[in-house]
Symmetry: C2
Subunit: 386 residues, 2 copies
């Protein structure tokens, strides 16, 4: 097992009704809140009113930034930065899915910076402080509610860039599975694909860690078990609860200890997402399905065999390559069952310039260590995915 | 899934050579350290010299409390309290196994209290502050390196009592698997039994959580896989590393989310440990082996079946009770393989007053919710274990 650091300062309040603790929790960290949210969904489910009541009953002054898009834009961050500076905001509260929370983290960093926030996401400026961030999660997917990562899109420069910092861990996040009851089947599927990909990106690794592998499998098994249940019955609390905390654990440090990140899927999807405004999880389902088929070989067959047996219930059997392939078939079937696309065409990407995508995806070098992928590999995987 | 809070502020530095970071880390939290350790083992492995050099090279003043016993005594805590107050200690650094770290936590609480430290462990005084605690772990077992628990023994009152507080989470803990290479086969076995019991006590629960169950199984599988390897080859780094972080995860919140603690084993072992100075893990192996046999019934057979199949590789099969029993047989065999006792006689407890033990163990009521155990149940389990 490789050396590692393991630390996560975010406090999670999990379960139905936990939003009722919001006012008291926020009061401990600030008194002027920037409430960040998306379009109308938190109003539709009544969450907006609950949040406002909690904040106002606790004497907290509220400013708002709404309309944050999926694949949150740098423009929203700039807008939030301006509000924070003008009104001396002392806490940023994101209420929504990963995009809203990522945008909140970016605003909290930008509030403590005098330049343009894109400097942070284009790695020209390294932040040294941040406003505190808190979150109420309404979509199980990215894990941002318990990590220091955020991803911001700049369509002007065709970039979708991530930034990770200890400064960006939410002070607390409230996770109520009931808040995900209204998530559409498609978005639920996207969240599941995102969660699984987070696990793949540490599970499939040259770094050996039995404990890490078994923990990764425990999360994948749970997600595979409950994904279809949540889609067929959106009000299934147990399914929503297991998917919700599964997505949190999939990217809070628990899947990554002693492992190197194997980032083909997220890197490539971010490039696709910067060129075409596709749902992140759907993009990942497409890349991951074709990536697995492409990279399986004699060298890594043992790991794919374990994956097939331990996660997908295939085998066991003597012909490891055959079992490994059956495991990948199960992944494809599963994506189909949860309504995920398996080709770029299905998400409206037709006649793409894949040379440009592959060049951009490999601009910092080959992707991953498990099986390092060159520009030509990336292009081939995406060609297979057309 | 039940509502829960999930929070753990301890930072882990894991892997070989991480002790070289000690001085720099301590400097961030204080300049006058009370170094707490046991008998001579940290001197034998050269760790004592490394620690002193790290601290002195960083200008940190060091005071010492040594000779902390397994089942750490309230007398050591009192001694540490006096040193802290006399010398204005600002950090307590425990270097050793669970006993040393527990003692360090108790001293850190006592340093901020003007009364007798036993008031804390007899629940007469509820601490409101603590000195910061840090640790270097040399034994994989209790999980104290990443939680807020400590257990102190008072032979004068025949009590072995635990206390848990957010104040007692170590600021950081250094976990170098190489520091456990010299742990004896017997103590390694005890650590494994302790780790497994921590998991049992949340895994076997009326509270349903698929994700929690799978995570629990991932830790148990790892421990079962590597336990015998570490015992047959004490210098097997992978085995020691997996056991070490497995024992940390077994009691850092990851096995307990959404579950109620099922404390027959620890409660009963603490009573045994207060009457007879037995190794904690050995006591737990005995209680757990007999507890499983005793509590298995038609109501809980499904969980024992899962345990047998998912952890011990028995079955699957149609006769769930038969498979469940085979799983428990595997537990017994495993304890035998790792050199753990399975009867009280083997640890020198002969002709015990089991009525007294059972009375003391159930003094706050029946034990557990999974299958609530009365005084008579406890007495019967221990009688079976004679």
């Amino acid at each position: 097992m490789k050396n590692f650091e393991f630390y996560n300062p975010t406090k999670i309040y999990f379960g139905k009704g936990e939003v009722d603790k919001l006012g008291g929790l926020i009061k401990n960290i600030g008194h002027k809140v920037l409430l960040v949210y998306g379009k109308s969904s938190i109003k539709k489910i009544g969450l907006y009113d609950t949040v406002l009541k909690q904040l106002k009953d606790n004497g907290i002054e509220v400013f708002e930034l709404n309309g944050v898009d999926p694949n949150p834009r740098i423009e929203s961050v700039r807008e939030g930065q301006t509000i924070c500076k003008e009104h001396n905001i002392d806490v940023v509260l994101g209420v929504g899915g990963g995009s809203v929370i990522d945008c909140s983290k970016a605003i909290a960093l930008a509030a403590k910076y005098d330049g343009d926030p894109w400097d942070i996401y284009s790695y020209k400026y390294s932040p040294v402080e941040s406003l505190p961030v808190a979150s109420i999660l309404t979509l199980s997917a990215t894990g941002t509610e318990m990590n220091g990562n955020s991803v911001i899109t700049n369509f002007a420069t065709e970039d979708k860039n991530g930034f990770g910092s200890i400064l960006s861990y939410p002070v607390f996040s409230i996770l109520d599975p009931e808040l995900t009851f209204s998530v559409s089947k498609y978005q639920t599927g996207c969240g599941i694909a995102d969660t699984l990909t987070h696990v793949y990106e540490f599970y499939f690794s040259n770094d050996k860690s039995h404990l890490n592998d078994r923990v990764c499998e425990s999360i994948m098994k749970t997600v595979v078990h409950y994904g279809p249940k949540a889609i067929s019955n959106p009000h299934d609390y147990e399914a929503r609860a297991n998917l919700m905390f599964g997505s949190t654990l999939a990217l809070n440090g628990l899947t990554s200890f002693g492992k190197t990140w194997e980032g083909f899927n997220h890197t490539t999807e971010h490039v696709l997402g910067a060129f075409w405004d596709i749902a992140h999880g759907a993009g990942l389902a497409i890349t991951a399905a074709h990536w697995m088929k492409y990279i399986l070989n004699e060298k890594n067959v043992d790991k794919f065999y374990e994956f097939a047996v331990n996660v997908w219930g295939v085998g066991p059997g003597e012909n490891k390559m055959e079992i490994a392939k059956q495991g990948i078939e199960k992944v494809w079937e599963f994506y189909h069952i949860i309504g995920m696309p398996l080709t770029l065409t299905e998400v409206g990407i037709t006649n793409p310039d894949l040379d440009k995508v592959a060049t951009q995806a490999t601009r910092y070098g080959t992707l991953g260590n498990y099986r390092p992928l060159t520009k030509e590999d990336v292009k081939q995987i995406l060609t297979n995915a057309l």
